[in-house]
Structures are given as C-alpha cells and as structure tokens.
Symmetry: C2
Subunit: 321 residues, 2 copies
C-alpha cells in the first residue's frame, strides 16, 4: 500500500440526542470499529460537554491514530450545516446559538461538519443503507417526533438557510389536532409520531370501551403497546395504525409530487408496527398520487441497525468534505 491509498482512512460520527450522545469510529464500508456514549444532559454548559466528549473519545482516537482520520461528522437536533451551529434546540441543555462545529474542530484538531439528526440519517442511508446509489429519495424518521432528510440530484436539500426538510411540521389536516410543542394545528408530527399515535390510541380507546387498549395503564400507552394489542386481534388497536397510516400516506403523496423521489425510506420506532401501518400508508399514498406518479415510488424500511444508524449517518458527513 502506498501513502496515497486512503481506503483505510476513518471517519468519526457523533450523534447528539437530548439524553445520550453516541460516537463511533467508522470505516468506508460502514463498519463501526469502536463506539461509546456519554450523557448529554449531564453537561449543563457546552464547554463542559465538549470537554467530557473529548475525554471519553481520546482513547479510541489514539487507538486508531496510526490511520488517518478524515473528519468528524456530527448530527444534532436543529443542527445547521451551513453555519455549524445548533440553534435554539428545545431538547438540548444549551440555550441559544451554539457554534459547536467550530468548538469541536478546535478541541479535537480534526475538521468537524454538522447537520441536523434527520439529515444525518439520510446521509447514512445514502452511503451505507437502503438509498445506496439513489440520487433522489426522502427519508422519514418516525420516532418521538417526525424528522426528514431530502436528497435531490444526489445532494441533500438544505435550503438557503440550512433548515430545509422539516416535513414533520407540514400541515396535513388544516385546523386539525394541536401540536403539543409548536401549537400548530394538524401537522404530520401531531398524528404520525409515536407521541401522536399515543394520542390517537387514547382517543379511540375512550370511544371503544370494549377495546383491549383500555387494559393498558395511561402512562404505558405507546406505539409498541398498541402494536401488541393489535397482534391479539383488537380492531381498535388496528384502527389506530390504519388512521395513522392514512394520514402518513396522504402526506407522502404530497411529498412525491414535490420532489418525485425514487424511494421513501422509513426509519424509527413506529415502523415496528409493520403492515398495520404500512398497508394503509401505501394504499393512501398511491390513491392520492397523480397517475404519472403511481406504482413507481418504493416505500421501504431503513437497512441500518437502529442502534448504529445515527453514528453511521453522522460519519457519512465526514467523507463529503
């Protein structure tokens, strides 16, 4: 191997979540060679957080220091690709605008690129997952919230300010359900996130007193619990997913008429409900498309392991630079 062979170069991926921050060292094949995590919320100031992250990561960085490390890719809620700042993230401990990419670059002496967590997930899918080789796709993350990353012409759509791709906040039912945090009425997230599904389940079980959903205690009602009740044949539990899938499918049809992707890739806890949600989603997606778009957009699940996807996605950013 000559000195110009970079195929064994490595990238670092860091995923900052409200509770945990995960990190890993990744090779070109998407294998995580080493990984770890720290508690995000244990660091009240961003300086302490970066100090803690640096201390935690130094052993694995030194371990691989004989191989070049191309860069650090970082995904975070409200992370802005253009400015490298996290801006007013409601679920992180640090207020205001945090110039985290610059701070990490200086602390680690390795160039750091930031994007939001949903865009990072889409990057990971394009580099290592279900979107390999695709130039046009949309990734939708159905978790506690609804996130999204949109790729068109082979490029992530960041928009003029770096904030593009907030599909969870698109209004799909004007005047509909009020969002617990934004206050908007009828947004996709209000219905199709895990939180939205729990609200739907509580509403429907109140209307159907014989449903086995009523046997679950109030604080245990979540997407997984509803799935388990559906598996036992409960029609109300199935209706929760049918209703959610209809709204998701209608929204996906609108997204397709915007950017005409080759595929829509779904990711996140909600997709564990499988066909209960996928069948109505697919049905209403197709039904709401113009004929020229029908029966050609793939609706698939992520191919990345949920535990690794965030690290892989973030690391994918580092190869770009």
């Amino acid at each position: 191997m000559g000195i110009l062979d970079l195929s064994n170069e490595l990238a670092i991926g860091i995923d900052i979540g409200g509770t945990n921050t995960k990190y890993g060292i990744v090779n070109h094949r998407g294998e995580i060679l080493d990984k770890g995590d720290i508690k995000t919320d244990a660091y009240p100031s961003i300086e302490e957080f970066i100090e803690g992250l640096h201390n935690a990561m130094m052993p694995i960085i030194e371990k691989h220091s004989s191989v070049g490390i191309k860069g650090i890719g970082m995904g975070a809620p409200n992370g802005n690709y253009y400015t490298g700042t996290i801006e007013y993230a409601p679920n992180l401990p640090w207020r205001g605008i945090i110039p985290i990419a610059k701070m990490v670059t200086e602390k680690f002496s390795i160039p750091c690129t930031l994007t939001n967590d949903a865009n990072a997930a889409a990057m990971g899918e394009m580099m290592y997952g279900a979107a390999r080789g695709m130039k046009d796709f949309i990734m939708i993350t159905l978790g506690t919230g609804v996130g999204s990353g949109i790729v068109s012409n082979g490029l992530m759509i960041y928009g003029h300010d770096g904030f593009a791709g907030e599909l969870g906040h698109i209004i799909v039912r004007p005047g509909g359900r009020k969002h617990w945090s934004t206050g908007a009425h009828g947004s996709l997230e209000a219905y199709c996130s895990a939180t939205g599904i729990a609200i739907t389940a509580k509403k429907l079980r109140a209307e159907n007193i014989h449903s086995a959903l009523n046997e679950i205690s109030e604080d245990k009602i979540d997407s997984l619990a509803v799935f388990e009740v559906a598996e036992k044949g409960d029609e109300t539990a199935k209706e929760v997913f049918r209703y959610t899938g209809q709204i998701l499918g209608e929204a996906l049809a609108n997204f397709i008429m915007f950017s005409s992707p080759e595929a829509i890739i779904l990711f996140g806890g909600v997709i564990k409900a499988g066909d209960y949600i996928m069948k109505p989603t697919k049905e209403h997606m197709e039904k709401n498309l113009l004929p020229i778009f029908q029966n050609k957009v793939k609706l698939v699940f992520s191919e990345l392991k949920e535990a690794d996807a965030a690290i892989l996605g973030a690391s994918a950013l580092a190869w770009e630079t």
Copy 2:
C-alpha cells in the same frame, strides 16, 4: 474578438401551449431578437407540427445563421427533461408519448432540450428574472392551472423520473373541492388557479345576493372580472381573493418547510389581483411557518414580461447543455 468568444452566441426558445406555440431567438442578456408563433392545434399529427414549426422558423434561423446557435430549449405541458418526450399531455392534440426533442433535433440539426412549461418558467426566472443569483427558490405559476418549478442547490428538481414539481396537485384540503380534471379532492389547483377562483366566486356570489359579482354573466366570471368588482369596494369579491390567498399561503408555508427557498416567485394572470390576494397569502404563509422560517422568505412577482417569459424560459435550457 477571437473565434473563442461565444458571448454573441444565440439560443432558441420554443414554448408549446395547447393553442399557440411561441418561438424566439434569444441572446445571453435575455433579449428576444426575433419571435413568432404558430397554432398548435392546427396540426393534428406531430410530424405535421414539426414540419410547420420548421417552415415558420427557418427565415429567422437563417437570418442569424452567421452567429452560432447553441441549442433549442423547449417547454411543453408534461414535457420530460430526462427522456425528451411529451407524455400524455391532455391539452395537446397528440396522443401518447411523443419523442419531440429527438424529432426537433433531427429536423433542425440543432440539439434540442425539453422540459415542462413550469420548469422552463423557473429556468427563465433564474437566468433573466427575479431569481438571478439564487440557488434555492420555488416558482409558482397561477394561471388556468397551477404549475411549479423548484430549484435547490442551484439545480432544477426533476426527480428520479423527470416529473417533480407538481405542486398544483398537492392536496391542501383533504376531502375538499373536487378537481374538474384529476378528480382529486382539495388540491391547490382546485382553489388557486384562475379556474378555481371562478368557482369560488360563483359560490360566494350565490351566498351573497347583494354582491355586485351577481351582475356579471356566468361565462364572464374570471379572476380579472372579480378583481374589477373588488376595486369598486365589493366585499364578496374581496373575500374571493382572501379565501384564495389563505389557501395559497398555507400551501406555501408547507413548501417552505420542505425546501427552505430564499424566495417564492409568483407568475401568471391571477397575480394581477395584487394585494387582494398577496396580503392574505403572505399573512397565512407566515402564520403557518415554524418560527425558524418566519419573516425571511421573499414572496415576489416574476420580473419577466408575461408575453416573453415562456420563450425566455425555454431558451434558458439551451445554455445549460
């Protein structure tokens, strides 16, 4: 000037509409040096149409033949950039899939690039109009129908199949007004096209018997007629535009959360209603945006003369190749 100076090179723009086909020879500064038109619907077969177009255009092509002609750009309903074909255009006389770019290239011995008419309009705006220098914008054409062209990262979004940007068919009112042609319920075009505005006006004048809108004969009700009545102070006529603007504004907010454009550029006959439609559009657009998107997206009118825009837009395609 040496032989490598191409600044005086020319491009041909052809805009195929259901009734007329306009063509022109355009320079780099967006000046139309010569133009003309033929009747699209006078040619029952595509072969006759291309023969007729060639005969009509040869005099002006020969006139400029001492200068290089870089290419022909063509805009047409259902025109596909990737395949160069017009596919199942309901308003054109020719059925099925028409390989028009190839046919024109061969007939004129000049390379021809095709796109749909709304994308061509956006190209023209980027090259010569209100979107000069922008890398992220959305162009919305409010005419008989609602068309759109979306530019992101400086590139037109065509999608994987060339059909992206059908924003007129996005559902903005699930279960709402049935579209006269697609049969879909609640699409943007059903409300915000000139046709949609006429429907709203007829509905509202029936509910408000004292409105001066009732003095217009049934077949004369259109966007312009409603505007004229609004100018005389009629509240029902104003309400037609307020209602239309609200729906348009809500839709634009959704589009912004998708691709975060620097500007939305409006074009077409409907915008002649000016503030009657723009004020509610802007108000409801801002109201439905997440705070991070508020008060930063420009909502502007096209800067191109309506009579020339289609030719300029189509010609802009030719410079790209």
